[in-house]
Amino acid sequence: MTDLTSLTLAEARKGLAAKTFTSLELTDAHLSAIEAARVLNAFVMETPDQARSMAREADAEIAKGDAGPLAGIPLGIKDLFATKGVRTTACSKILGNFVPTYESTITSQLWRDGAVMLGKLNNDEFAMGSANETSCFGPVANPWRRDGSNATLVPGGSSGGSASAVAALLCMGATATDTGGSIRQPAAFTATVGIKPTYGRCSRWGIVAFASSLDQAGPIARSVRDSAMLLRSMAGHDPKDTTSVDIPVPDYEAAIGQSVKGKRIGIPREYRLDGMPAEIEKLWSEGAAWLKAAGAELVEVSLPHTKYALPAYYIVAPAEASSNLARYDGVRYGLREQGKNIHELYENTRAEGFGAEVRRRVMIGTYVLSAGYYDAYYLRAQKVRTLIKKDFEDCFAGGVDAILTPATPSAAFGIGEKGGADPVEMYLNDIFTVTVNMAGLPGIAVPAGKDAQGLPLGLQLIGRPFDEETLFSLGEVIEQAAGRFTPARWW
């Protein structure tokens, strides 16, 4: 039954409805695949008993004929989402053995629609990283390798476990989160589809917070259609998140196959970086040509403040993180390291519980918010953010429907290869994705080709606020032209 894992979510839904197989069979096939792929380290917690019991319930619903849109579909959940009764750690030692007594809004909506939880997926500690190397559970392996090489590559981050598991056929889709590129960059590194919706589209309630004004959840899946199906269940208004927006959730799947004739696609000249690999440049032109062939119109656009997005992000995100992570005090939950007094208890707990990258960001955030530096750093960064958003607004006001860019400046790299000496080297991974978070816009990464070493590369489409539908329509055009990519199994 292992071939059941190679179905797309849309195909599995058909098979379940036609009773070709049951959710229990589909779930068991995935549980076996997970067991056989432990070397990837994509899952940090497997929940086979819960998975089987949810699958049996789904089968009963399907038999009754009143199944939800995701009935019986086995999914992986990033360990940033609180799951009731199932350990949730954000892959940080400081949360230790935290077992939530509540369920995140997004996962509760997935279960409402009938989905099955296979387990919790690895990620960078508190979602801070671009290679899934900062997790307290160790790095995740990318199922993709360079042609003729055995070297283990990173799956990207922070949603590295989600991307790796979806690419390796361990789950039919996964939840993920994106603060500066954490859905789109790992999707590009693993030939999967990842969408970060508009800020406010999905509830953040019950997701471990990193940078609240930038964090947004979304799915990683194996096709554009699958990602549209998942987003429909994940999105929606939640009174428990005051930044979630009260507008109806469209049937995103209906956007698949819609004509893109006459859509104006902006090609931003500032994304053409000095020293950009020729194959990325080529991929970008190919993507533009595919959209043009489908009837879209290409226009060169300018987003003049692009180069300032990443430095502004590295003020805003750490500042918000330092404030959000103040809650880890060794008193209310998680790890506690003793001290002579309460201050030592705090300091020892946080020194022991946070990894190096998290400590560094909390400290930078503390510094830029501290007396005397707030105006020079934080306030200035928030002003620059206004300018970045205005660049996009001007572009959309000029009649542009979506913007096409590369998703990442390179293909996946080796474990331990980047950021060892200078943290900024790792941060540059997010150069094409971070602008989208700064402006709160939706962005989708779609697999578009391979580099000379056989590694996947992705393209990114950026849309108007709450116009995810256009991204799905355009994304599917790229998918149709580029085809889908599956890694050769070595694990």
Binding site: F98, V99, T101, Y102, Y199, G200, S213, P239, T242, T243, V245, H305, K307, Y308, P311, A312, Y314, I315, A326, D329, G330, V331, R332, Y333, G334, R336, Q338, K340, N341, I342, E344, L345, Y346, E347, R350, A351, R359, R360, V362, M363, I364, T366, Y367, S370, Y373, A376, L379, R380, A381, Q382, K383, V384, R385, T386, L387, K389, P423, V424, M438, G440
Partner: protein, 95 residues
């Protein structure tokens, strides 16, 4: 701008993270690399620009001033490292 060793110790204390003396030079280097990277923002003309407060143009929603949750003290202390009844235990703070 860059930070010296004393500033690194002061930030660590503000962030409530214990830092040993031999970690200071390394942290100082990393923090200064990040500060050097963000330095380019000083080139941007932000004269008259409003700082962003909300990325989506919406009014902050306000909840009704009503109790709508509670009576879950067991849940609140369920994950605490040290408790007594429904209280969190900490080292003595008042002599």
């Amino acid at each position: 701008m860059s930070v010296d060793a004393a500033t690194v110790r002061r930030i660590a204390h503000l962030a409530r993270i214990a830092v040993s003396e031999d970690e200071v030079p390394h942290l100082q280097g990393e923090l200064n690399a990040m500060l050097a990277f963000v330095e380019q923002l000083s080139e941007v003309n932000v004269e008259g620009v409003e700082p962003m407060t909300s990325v989506t143009p919406m009014q902050m929603k306000k909840r009704l001033d009503l109790v709508n949750d509670g009576e879950i003290a067991d849940d609140i202390v369920a994950n605490a490292p040290a408790t007594e009844g429904h209280f969190f235990l900490v080292p003595k703070v008042v002599e």
